[in-house]
Structure formats: structure tokens, C-alpha cells
């Protein structure tokens, strides 16, 4: 303790505010210059940005630490060190986000056109064609999954919050957690294993995809609904009971309406989460170049699988396939963003106040 006090007395002077940004910029420039020199020296002419950044950052950190330690004392210096580390961690996370957004938008617009949304890939080799069949498939499969998951999820949450006591409820809670962790590919394998019994080996069907997605969606819906039901004040339930309203009507007409906005938000987020699932659909819904409106019959294309197969099964005209893949990725990202946005708006504008 005494040493700490001493050092804090010693370093009473603060560093000027302009110092650290100036240092940062100059060290990055220096590091870049060094790299250029080295690169022109060696035979490989590539400029390598990662070592530039790492070296620049390290030298900047070291310099600032030393200066701060001399002028401000060891405690302030450590504080500055940590601040640099934390800010670096944060910027590092933003880089992929920005890069992803930039790449998807710039590469996706090439084929983000009317044809993309009005044509399937039937009889298309090379350029042209579209993802209509995939969009239809995604809408149908996700729609069916939602129809399955929402009632089961909401009722199960009602069971847990309003009725569940004792061992069974505790088991259900525990296994909902387990279900949250089921890898999506396992959900796909399950749907396959289930459908093989009825339709034989090699079965592919849109409905199977919906089953697989439900498995992933149900726990999300349960958790979201549970959270929302729990924050409905008990006083409202008591008010209804005291008016001679039976429990089931209390739940249906007081508890659910009060938490409706929150539940709707949760469902939107659950849909957004499964709509981008690829692996389970690849296994059980399969892929095709043609339109298929019938989820009970044969292969059904979906948007994420479209993106994957466009990339994985590139034809001779590679660029056409890649462009379609990026356009599909852009479409998918936009759908997910819109769903998230709608979820936010619902919870912002429709939650009961007071």
C-alpha cells in the first residue's frame, strides 16, 4: 500500500491530451514505412498489413506506457495500458462486422436485380437465373416451422411459468436449456432419421426442413416467452382472480395480452435466427434448381442452401455463380436485419406502459 501511495504522489503530472493520438498515428506510419522498406528489400513484394498493424500498435503501447510511467507513475500507466487493450479488443470486433457488411453489399448488388427475384435456376447454366425458388422454399419452410414452434413454445412457457412445479417442471427447464445447445446439423440429422422411417432412405422433403428448424426454434420461443410472462406482475393475476376469473382465462386474457409485444419480439428474433440456417436444410430439404411449392414432395431449395450451393457447385462461368451467391447472401442479410428491426420496433411501440 505504501509503495502505491508513494508512486501516486510521485506522478502528479498528467499527460497532455494530444499526446496519445499523435503517438498512435506516428507509430502506425512508421511501422508502415518500415514494412515498405523491408518488402522492397526481399523478393516477395506483398505488403502485409497485419504485421504493420500489430507492430504499430505494440510500439505505440510500449511508448505510451513508458512515457506515462515516467511522468504519471506506475498506476496511471497500467490504467492506460488496459485502456488500450480494451479499446483494441473492441475495434478488432468491429473490423469483421464492417468488412462483412461492405463485402456483402458491394458484391451482392451485382445480381441484386429483378431477374434474381423472379426466376429460378431451372435450365440455367452460366449467367442469369435467380433465387425465386429458394425464396419460396425459405418462406414456406420457415413459415411451417413458425407455425409448429410458436404454439408449442408459448404453451410450454405457460406451463413453466403458470403451472409448473416440482420435478417435471425442473426437468423441462433443464432440457429446454439442453435443447438450446443442440447443434443445427444434429437437428437436420434428426429430421432425416425421423422421415426415413416413413419414406425410406434418401428422403428429401421441405417439411423435414421445417421439423428441423422447429427443433431449433422451440427453445428460443420458450425462453423468450418465459422471460416475458415472468415480468407480468403477479398483482395483475391476483386482480383477475379476485374478479372471479378462472385461471385459464386469466392467463389467456390478462397475462398473454400484457406480454404480447415481448413475445412477438421473441418470435421475430427466433425466426431471424433460424431463417439463416443452412446445414439442417442441406441434409433434409436438399437442393434443386427448380420451383417446388409443395413441402410434402421432393427437394426444396432455400436461400441459405442456395448461397452455399452457388458457391460450392460453381459451373464454368465461375463469376456468375459467385455473384448469385453474394446476391443471395445480401438478400438473407437484409431479411435478418429487417426481422431484427421489426422485433425492436414491436417491443418499443407496443409494450404496455405503466
Amino acid at each position: 500500500m505504501t509503495t502505491q501511495l508513494n508512486s501516486s504522489f510521485r506522478g502528479t503530472q498528467d499527460l497532455p491530451k494530444w499526446l496519445s493520438p499523435t503517438l498512435l498515428v506516428s507509430f502506425f506510419l512508421a511501422s508502415f514505412g518500415l514494412q515498405v522498406l523491408l518488402a522492397s528489400d526481399s523478393d516477395s513484394a506483398e505488403i502485409n498489413f497485419i504485421p504493420v498493424a500489430v507492430f504499430g500498435l505494440l510500439s505505440f503501447t510500449l511508448a505510451l506506457y513508458v512515457i506515462s510511467r515516467v511522468i504519471e507513475g506506475v498506476r496511471k500507466a497500467t490504467d492506460r495500458l488496459v485502456t488500450i487493450m480494451v479499446s483494441t479488443a473492441f475495434s478488432l470486433a468491429l473490423i469483421p462486422l464492417l468488412s462483412l457488411a461492405y463485402t456483402v453489399v458491394t458484391k451482392g448488388v451485382a445480381r441484386f436485380d429483378a431477374e434474381f427475384f423472379t426466376f429460378s435456376m431451372r435450365n440455367v447454366v452460366g449467367e442469369g437465373g435467380g433465387a425465386l425458388h429458394a425464396i419460396i422454399g425459405t418462406v414456406e419452410i420457415t413459415g411451417i416451422a413458425t407455425l409448429i414452434s410458436v404454439p408449442i413454445g408459448i404453451m410450454a412457457a405457460i406451463y413453466l411459468v403458470e403451472y409448473g412445479r416440482g420435478t417435471v417442471a425442473r426437468l423441462v427447464t433443464f432440457f429446454v436449456d439442453v435443447m438450446t445447445g443442440v447443434p443445427s446439423i444434429v437437428a437436420g440429422l434428426f429430421a432425416y432419421a425421423l422421415f426415413v422411417i416413413f419414406f425410406g432412405p434418401g428422403v428429401r422433403m421441405g417439411l423435414g426442413g421445417a421439423i428441423a428448424l422447429s427443433l431449433l426454434m422451440i427453445p428460443v420461443v420458450i425462453r423468450a416467452t418465459e422471460e416475458m410472462l415472468k415480468i407480468v406482475p403477479n398483482e395483475l393475476r391476483e386482480a383477475a382472480y379476485a374478479l372471479g376469473v378462472p385461471k385459464w382465462l386469466t392467463v389467456l386474457k390478462v397475462v398473454l395480452p400484457t406480454s404480447l409485444a415481448g413475445i412477438a419480439t421473441g418470435i421475430m428474433i427466433a425466426i431471424a435466427r433460424v431463417i439463416g440456417e443452412t446445414a439442417p436444410l442441406l441434409l433434409i430439404a436438399g437442393f434443386t434448381a427448380s420451383m417446388n411449392y409443395n413441402p410434402l414432395d421432393e427437394r426444396m431449395m432455400t436461400l441459405p442452401v442456395f448461397v452455399y450451393t452457388s458457391y460450392a457447385n460453381q459451373g464454368v462461368d465461375m463469376q456468375a455463380y459467385l455473384d448469385r451467391a453474394w446476391a443471395g447472401a445480401l438478400t438473407l442479410m437484409l431479411i435478418v436485419m429487417v426481422l431484427n428491426l421489426v422485433a425492436r420496433l414491436i417491443s418499443k411501440y407496443f409494450s404496455p406502459k405503466g
Binding site: A239, L243, G244, P246, V254, P257, K353, G354
Partner: protein, 259 residues
Amino acid sequence: MSKRIELKSLDVYYKAFLAVEDVSMVIEPKAITAFIGPSGCGKSTLIRTLNRMHEVIPGARVEGQLLMDGEDVYGPDVDPVRVRRQVGMVFQRPNPFPTMSIKDNVLSGYKLNNSRMSKAEAEEITEKALVGANLWNEVKDRLEKPGSGLSGGQQQRLCIARAIAVEPDVILMDEPTSALDPISTAAIEDLAVELKEHFTVVIVTHNMQQASRISDMTAFFNIAGSGLPGKLIEYDKTEKVFSNPTEQQTEDYVSGRFG
């Protein structure tokens, strides 16, 4: 319309914990009966047995007899939901339904039970209940607005309107003014006095002036210590309880020596 309530050696439990022991008393119709006593002595617990709200809590149960105009409220074929329709209840904190308009809040006793009524009927009931709760003039222009937009005192009167709209026989109030400012409190007290014209009114309060101001009968409860059951110490005319109590404990409590 107004019923006499008779408690015969009532024991009230939470699981194995005996919260209120051996209460016998008669609550008169067309009168205000106040429950007073230190906190934790079981006032809320007891008042909640009168409309079978107690058993909503898991593991909660009641032993003994409770008669309402001679009918056994805890009889084997009595539906607790029906009991609650005859006994209105007002809680400590105002709790209007946040998703409903003022009007729907008043009608909630009907609407939540899926009973159908004509528009004219609905309007008549709304007006009558709001007038009865001394709230009509303040809200008649904004019946379609949410109930949660009202002030605390108005919300509490809305809750009273909601309770009397279904024309019960008994009104139970558990510390209805403890969350309110003095002006709203006075409004509720006046209202309680008006309500006894038509209903059996039971009010829990730990405000002794309030009990002495508005009630006709007063029941004093006490506990010997934590973990022990609450007991009815003295039950008599309010005047008598406050001016000349029989029990020393009551004397100590009403004179403010503890609690």
C-alpha cells in the same frame, strides 16, 4: 346484496406454517369492519381467506369454517371462482390492467369472463360503477384511454369501480391507501363510507386514525413473536376498541406504544 360473514375457529396455513390461528368472529353487513395490528400478524392472510384468494398461493390452505349468510364458503362443492365473483377485492397497490382502457377496466369482471352484454348495458354499468367510485367526473371524457395513465389515487378508485361493477355482496380492501397521498386517501375513505350503504366492507389498515374515522367494528390482531401464528386479540365496536379496550395488548397498540 350485503352479506353477513361468520368465521368459526379459522386456522390459516402456508404449507406447514400456521400463519393465523383460531379466529372466530362475525362480520356485519352494511358496515365497515377494520382489521388492525402490527405488520406480519396475518391481516392480509386472513382477509384473503374471505374470498378464497388465499389458496391461489401454492401449498396454502384453510381449516375451520367460513359462512356467508349461512352458506359454507369452503364447502366441498363450492367453486372458489364463484365465491370471488360475489366478493370484490381492492389491493394495496393499484393494479388496473395495463392493456385495457378505463372503460374496459371497469367492465373487466364481465369481459374477462366472456359474458356478453349490449352496448347500452355496458355503458350503463360503466357509468354506474364509476359514479359509485367517485371517478366519473374525472374520466368521463377519456373512457377509451388506458387506465395506467391515471394518477395513483384515480387508479385505486378505478380498481374499486372494477370491483363494484360486478355487484358483489362484499368488498375487501387490503391497505387500499397505503400507497397514496393524503388527498387521495381522503377520497378513498369517503368512498368506503358510501360503499357500506350497499356492501359488507372489510378494510385492512395499519393507520389507526383511518380505522377510527371510518369503521364501525374493529378487529385487533397480534403475534407473540416471529414464526408464531397471528391471533385475534379483540373484536368490538370501533369506539370501544379505541377508547376503552378490554385487553392490555390492544390498549398498548392503539395508544401507539408499539407496532
